[in-house]
């Protein structure tokens, strides 16, 4: 086999870029959603909570299909997206949208649990000291819930790296453009290119192990402070 670093680097770089961007977007949106919904009771918050958790139980292909209905060229927002010059179908940005939706509940769930575990007295104390709700969140709730949220972020990133179904539906499988690691592995395996597939599998495993170890190390370092 003619050994070419590009066959590893291109999907690896794309996977990291897609998973990283998706995790970042999900982190911001999911943490804010968890903040607004934490400790809320009633039918509306319960419904919103169900919507936020939905991607966890739905098959990725179903999610991909929904997303096409929403952001595809003939989708609900398709026309509007085309006007502002954004094309999500068969582009790496489309893969980001798919991965964002798939990893969203992982961060949302951990963030909500972590925020609900923050001692309510501390938040109340901040309020009596004149803090607005936003400042209570930024200066008290978020720093104290950080460990739980961070665990969710790492899980989300790892899940984003392995995203397959929804990405395939929206972004397709275009080598060098939208072919992420897991798609490249499937492709190589289907084509009978076992050597390439096993290389990619090793790389994926190594990245995942390194990620988990880095996360553990970060948590330990934080604990020492």
């Amino acid at each position: 086999m003619d050994f070419d670093i590009a066959f590893i680097w291109s999907p690896l770089e794309l996977s990291l870029r897609v998973a990283g961007t998706a995790t970042l977007i999900s982190f911001v949106v999911a943490t804010l959603a968890a903040w607004r919904l934490a400790r809320r009771k009633g039918p509306m918050p319960a419904l919103l909570d169900a919507v936020c958790s939905l991607p966890l139980v739905m098959p990725p292909t179903v999610l991909g299909y929904y997303l096409i209905l929403l952001v595809g060229r003939r989708g609900v927002f398709g026309h509007w997206l085309e006007e502002v010059g954004i094309n999500l179908i068969f582009s790496w940005q489309g893969a980001v949208v798919a991965a964002t939706v798939v990893v969203f509940p992982l961060i949302y769930k951990s963030a909500r649990a972590a925020l609900e575990q923050v001692d309510k007295h501390l938040e109340d104390a901040a309020r009596t000291l004149g803090s607005s709700e936003w400042r209570v969140f930024i200066s008290v709730s978020l720093p104290l819930a950080w460990k739980g949220i961070f665990a969710g972020i790492m899980l989300a990133f790892a899940r984003g790296m392995g995203e397959f179904g929804a990405t395939l539906m929206i972004a397709g499988n275009i080598p060098g453009k939208t072919q992420t690691l897991s798609l490249a592995i499937y492709d190589a395996f289907q084509a009978g290119n076992d050597a390439q597939a096993s290389w990619l599998v090793c790389i994926t495993s190594a990245v995942c192990v390194a990620l988990l170890m880095a996360a553990e190390l970060l948590v330990k370092l934080k604990r020492r402070h």
Binding site: D119, H121, L122, D124, A125, A126, R127, T128, L129, G130, S131, S132, W134, R135, I138, S139, V140, P143, L144
Partner: protein, 249 residues
């Protein structure tokens, strides 16, 4: 003068509870004690005072300032009430140093950065309460008594109109409790801010009460001047028991 009328009920709770209290605490008493068994509505009263819980009906006035009035539809937000609340567990922020904790009411959105005037003010406050040397410590690194002082320093740094102390000694062993009670009494004497203290310990009533409010099952009875009723009894406990029995009759 503090004028209170609070109505609040939790009908759907596991143990239904209703609070209905109405009393005034005059200016002649710098410190009032709310005394009664746990679950009698003392803490709920404080939460309503601070603005953390909204009463179903009633009013809260401190001096000329109306903080809550259900008839006139007035409800000042917790952030704007300027009521210093010292929680039972002190509620110091565990991720901030004492200096950052005390500066919290005056620092910006990023409480880790305390500089200039805010820093001097917070340091001054810590010095005033005798814990200036601990400014760089985290709450977990100091003793219970020091934590209480830090919580008080933080509440005072917000420049409150009224101080609320929720069972300041309940979590401490008896000897430490006695020492801290003396310390707090000494500190309070140097303050000009009126205070309301919750307690179920007769010794606290003896030490702090000017005005006294007896709570029982969500109802309250005021004793205008504790000193005038205390004289006839050998211990504070006997005095309070007598007052309670009188109230029940």
């Amino acid at each position: 003068m503090i004028s209170l009328h609070l109505v609040k009920s939790f009908r759907n709770a596991v143990t239904p509870f209703s609070l209905d209290v109405r009393y005034e605490i005059g200016d002649e008493h710098k410190c009032a004690v709310l005394f009664g068994p746990s679950g009698s509505g003392k803490s709920l009263t404080m939460q309503c005072l601070a603005g953390l819980t909204r009463p179903d009906a009633g009013h809260i006035r401190i001096g000329d300032c109306t903080l809550f009035d259900s008839q006139e539809n007035v409800s000042v937000s917790v952030q704007k009430r300027r009521i210093g609340y010292m929680f039972q567990d002190y509620a110091l922020f565990p991720h901030l140093t004492l200096l950052q904790n005390v500066a919290y009411p005056r620092s910006g959105c990023w409480p880790w950065r305390v500089c200039g005037e805010e820093r001097d003010k917070a340091q001054d406050m810590l010095e005033r309460l005798g814990i200036g040397h601990l400014a760089a410590n985290l709450p977990s690194q100091i003793s219970g008594g020091q934590r209480q002082r830090a919580a008080l320093a933080r509440a005072l740094n917000a420049d409150p109109l009224l101080l609320l102390l929720d069972e300041p000694f309940s979590a401490l062993d008896p000897l430490l409790r006695e020492r801290l009670r003396e310390e707090l009494l000494e500190l309070m004497e140097n303050l000009t801010i009126p205070a309301v203290i919750i307690s179920h310990d007769p010794d606290d009533v003896d030490a702090f009460a000017g005005g006294l409010v007896l709570y029982d099952k969500g109802r309250a009875r005021t004793v205008a001047d504790y000193a005038s009723v205390r004289g006839d009894f050998a211990t504070a406990g006997k005095c309070l028991r007598h007052l309670q029995e009188q109230g029940a009759a």
